[in-house]
Assembly symmetry: C2
Homo-oligomer: 96 residues x 2
């Protein structure tokens, strides 16, 4: 296979993977919203640093590479923060 053909093939695969990641991120965000709603009903704090640490530790343990562990932690912290951001927005909307 020519280099340019292989590059095109990889690009198509990347496009597919991007959409799969987006789908999982969106599904994840919905679940976090639901858990936020349940926590609100129970009156418990939404941000749970122990649970976040547990999730990060699990991810680092399962990290197959090539990203190093710090990069995995960084990327998932961004994902967690964005999810908390969603709950904050909802809070703001309720205050308006």
């Amino acid at each position: 296979m020519k280099t340019s053909e292989r590059m095109e093939e990889i690009r198509l695969q990347l496009d597919e993977i991007n959409l799969e990641i987006l789908g999982l991120l969106s599904r994840r965000a919905e679940l976090v919203q639901e858990i936020g709603e349940l926590k609100k009903q129970k009156g418990t704090e939404r941000f749970d640093p122990i649970r976040e640490k547990e999730m990060l530790d699990n991810l680092v343990e399962a990290n197959p590479g090539p990203f190093d562990d710090n990069t995995v932690r960084h990327l998932f912290k961004q994902i967690f923060q964005a999810s908390l951001g969603l709950m904050e927005e909802e809070k703001k909307a309720l205050l308006v």
Copy 2:
């Protein structure tokens, strides 16, 4: 179902989704490494801002929510940057 049972169920689902996202991010990173290798052989620049913009536009177009478009852009820019970071590391390793 009790609230606490549903919360536990969601947590298990989040753990699964985290691992699925990690798997896709890792597969994605491998493909980016391969494309970087092919570009090196061809002598072309590895960072392609037009391709990056195209990928972000595709993702925003496909965004089902609940994340807003800016959050989707932000999260994927972090993913793209981490992948470029991998190529930079490899470059540094070659220079040593």
